[in-house]
Symmetry: C2
Subunit: 540 residues, 2 copies
């Protein structure tokens, strides 16, 4: 392997991005230009008129419905500066970043805004504010990065008198590093970018880079079972968690005594993925890794998706496992790599991105061993160009959605996970269902798909759907999404690989786990949150 | 690496042992001689008189206390041949294989015998028998191999009118293999040895070899979070489970849709480790691996335990990970390897066993890469002798306990797991506590310890305690065990790494998870088992 392909991993990499202040409804750093590439602009059609929607400052919000006594008690507990009913704060905590969420706020709909936004400064304050809100039957929504794309920040108001958004941004400390055990204890309000920056200064990495990296926070990673783009190498977030602290209306639960144990059910795995329904995660202890000195990202070309998937499966089952391993299908390969220079003579087929990080010798060894497997599986290496192009652009995709929506293009993603033996069938079923649903509305879509995460027994499928907006794009997407969910469940796959359940997947989730399991979860919720104020309507 | 050290893994290995019919209270195949080695016999002292205890056939059992109506209903459901109140069947399902269990039966105490032993033939029959037992408030104990060493087969009778042992031995099918996804679906009553035999015939291995391998079954592996001796390479049982089916008094729960998912809490991890308290696991789908063509087991010597532990940590954190990785402390090394030929000139210090399995090239590669790390960490390779000696003798240890007890020697094991940064402290605290407790009874013990399982963040500690029996050896061990549990919890470690909770660890377990988590688990139990008949007093 030449030294040109393997590169030093410097501190100015995207792993040390600045912490971005996002402003709803648009994604990311507002000073970063998000111009539509030519290929994407073409999708909008020539008659599209840019329409950025209603100015968020002009969105009318309902009067806060939190009882005065609670408002006063929260000010007393947290200090007046940490309890806000300001329009701007409420707007910034309204819904998440699904396309439907963006469309609603663009359309001037502020109906899901919280009544208050509070910023507690300690775990104990979170416990006490939960008890206060329970007393007044006011719902609480935990908020770290606010990047949910499944309605995870939009509780039901049916059985509560108001909604308080609990923004954990003051719980932003790296509490301790155990260099021997290679773990770090982080407060939940710490943003992922900042956590990485703090760890790099000590020579470590969390290795967790979801596409929401610019915005997301540690508590959200834990509460939603986040999976980063480097999960092949560093693991999913739910696999990294050694210990967690949960604040509930009934007090504190601390879980995790050892890396693995036979002491009963693994209760960490009951709280991970609970999406605020059992309380608020305030602190986690997670595994860390030495910051990688070097990296090597390459593109590999396969004749078709099935050939590429078979090659990925070989690596996932028999190793070696790269740090990053992804495979775009034919449609996504053609769209994303429209620039023929990037594929050289190897255009067409399906592109895989294979990335290795670590010390130089290990990167070289793994690269060579991986190449042997991929060659044997019919792959052709097309060099570091497409690998580095993906790597440097990987956090840019969410920025494209805003100008596409401006231009009248509907764009959204959805995802699932299944076993290898069903992968092709599930991919076909979901693509067909979404295509049929949107075509029936005279808005035939382009459906792209990639495998973003691999496991020994199966892999995730991540779909990007692009089509012209119908008159009511929210209803339009709802129909497509319902079709996708039905196809996913009918083919035996899981309703979500890493987006979570929220409100959008709730019914399909209940179908997935069954009545008895649902009852068991409700019994846990009833124990920890007897007044039902913890993110009501989310998950359960 | 010479071809002499690497060996073909043939089908006559211990991985294809015959299925053993065990007869309480003695362990294992009764036709296998279990003579005391000279070193062990010396521990018994010269004045020891062999006393095998009361003949189990002569142990007096209470009249079965199951209501006639239930007895008749079970015969109607399962057939008369599958419902037994015979003395022999009841004795064979009495307690497990802890030293205390053995001492009780040797002493003629049949007080924990179940009233009936039933052998259902299908999942549906298990569901229906659970409903029948709930109706009559009769406890059910799931039974696969019956090898619990923590009282997991000894439910409390306080709130029930009788106890039925549900032996799953007729649920013994390999249901299906998915060769693409590399998973197998197994019924819970299948014995581990037989599962391995069936998988080897198809070219696969489960790779799960706990020390209880001669007796244990699939359902027990799942219900107690079993960890096999090759877990470094093949994973713990709780990590292998993709899907499981749980029969409860309220019906069936099927969990696991995909390898990993963000669809809420991972409920598989709520049932794994539930030890029969929520119902009876009847089927699991678990990951499998190609049967290894070759193996290479070697001994490595380190100056002391801390040096060896640091070397194991290097492998667990930075790789490569061997298939088997263990480290005996100075005492265990000296006792187990009293034969100086086995260590050659490298006697003394601590011995690690490092084993690799797989295809030849991979075994060689991993062996060489591992050797580099171990050398750098101060290890000296002492060749395949001690590695193969451990491998071929690894299922023999439980056989030694019976002749030691015959000879008046008390021998028992206990285990824990903690983070690397606390390993030495925990080991010291437990050793000191057990030594002090037994010395105070004038029975100074020999306490040996080894690391049997390693993880990125920590490792298990497995202690073997040997001392002369006091007048009442059950009380004697109870005092030592209480001291050990207190030391384990005081040092922040988990009360069990792989033995489970059962009744023996219940109080310490509750201390470990805390009141709120305990309430949550009780709420789950109340939902699935409202009459409290599922293994009452076990775990919860």
């Amino acid at each position: 392997m030449s030294d040109e392909a393997r590169r030093p991993n410097t501190s100015d990499d995207e792993t040390a991005l600045p912490v971005v202040t996002m402003h709803r409804p648009r994604w990311g750093d507002p000073t970063t230009p998000a111009e539509l590439p030519a290929a994407a602009a073409a999708l909008a059609g020539s008659d599209a008129v840019a329409d950025p929607g209603v100015d968020p400052a002009a969105v009318v919000l309902a009067r806060p419905s939190v009882p005065d006594a609670l408002h006063a008690a929260l000010r007393g507990l947290l200090g007046a500066a940490n309890v806000s009913a300001e329009h701007r704060d409420r707007i910034e905590h309204t819904r998440g970043y699904s396309t439907t969420d963006l469309l609603a706020l663009r359309g001037g709909d502020g109906g899901d805004a919280p009544d208050l936004v509070v910023t507690p400064g300690s775990h104990d304050e979170v416990v006490r504010l939960l008890a206060l809100c329970a007393e007044h039957r006011v719902a609480v929504v935990p908020f770290t990065g606010g990047t949910s794309v499944v309605g995870g920040l939009t509780p039901q108001r049916a059985d509560v008198v108001g909604v308080v958004s609990v923004d954990l941004r003051r719980l932003d400390r790296l509490v301790a590093v155990d260099e021997i055990s290679r773990t770090v204890t982080l407060q939940a309000g710490l943003r992922g970018v900042r956590a990485e920056e703090l760890l790099r200064a000590k020579g470590f990495t969390l290795g967790h880079f979801p596409q929401s990296y610019a915005g997301a926070g540690i508590g959200g990673y834990a509460a939603t079972r986040s999976a980063g783009q480097s999960s092949a190498g560093y693991g999913r977030f739910d696999e990294m968690v050694e210990h967690l602290v949960l604040a509930t209306p009934r007090g504190t639960m601390e879980l995790g005594t050892a890396p693995r144990s036979a002491a009963g059910p693994d209760l960490r795995q009951l709280v991970l993925g609970s999406e605020g329904a059992f309380g608020i995660i305030t602190e986690v202890t997670v595994r860390i890794h030495p910051a990688p000195a070097c990296r090597l990202f390459e593109g590999w070309r396969f004749d078709d998706f099935d050939a590429g998937a078979a090659a990925l499966r070989r690596l996932a089952q028999d190793g070696p496992m790269p740090t990053v391993l992804r495979l775009s299908d034919e449609v996504e390969t053609a769209i994303n790599l429209a620039d023929p220079d990037e594929l050289g003579a190897a255009a067409g087929g399906c592109l895989a991105v294979v990335g290795h990080e670590g010390v130089a010798a290990e990167v070289d060894r793994r690269r060579d061993a991986t190449a042997e497997v991929l060659h044997a599986a019919g792959g052709r290496c097309v060099g570091p160009g497409p690998g580095e192009a993906w790597r440097t652009g990987r956090f840019r995709a969410p920025y494209l959605r805003d100008p596409l929506l401006d231009a009248g293009v509907l764009v959204e993603t959805l995802e699932t996970v299944t076993y290898w033996s069903r992968l092709t069938e599930v991919k076909g079923a979901v693509t067909a269902a979404v295509t049929a649903a949107l075509t029936a509305m005279d808005t035939e879509p382009l459906v792209m798909c990639h495998v973003s995460h691999v496991y020994a027994a199966g892999a995730s499928l991540y779909f990007t759907v692009v089509c012209p907006q119908a008159r009511n794009p929210i209803d339009q997407w709802a129909a497509a999404k319902t079709a996708a969910n039905t196809a996913i469940r009918a083919s035996g796959a899981s309703i979500t690989h890493h987006h979570g359940v929220g409100r959008d997947h709730r019914d399909a989730y209940h179908d997935e786990i069954g009545d008895l399991a649902l009852e068991a979860l409700r019994a846990v919720k009833q124990t920890l949150d007897p007044d039902g104020i913890c993110n009501p309507g989310i998950l359960l």
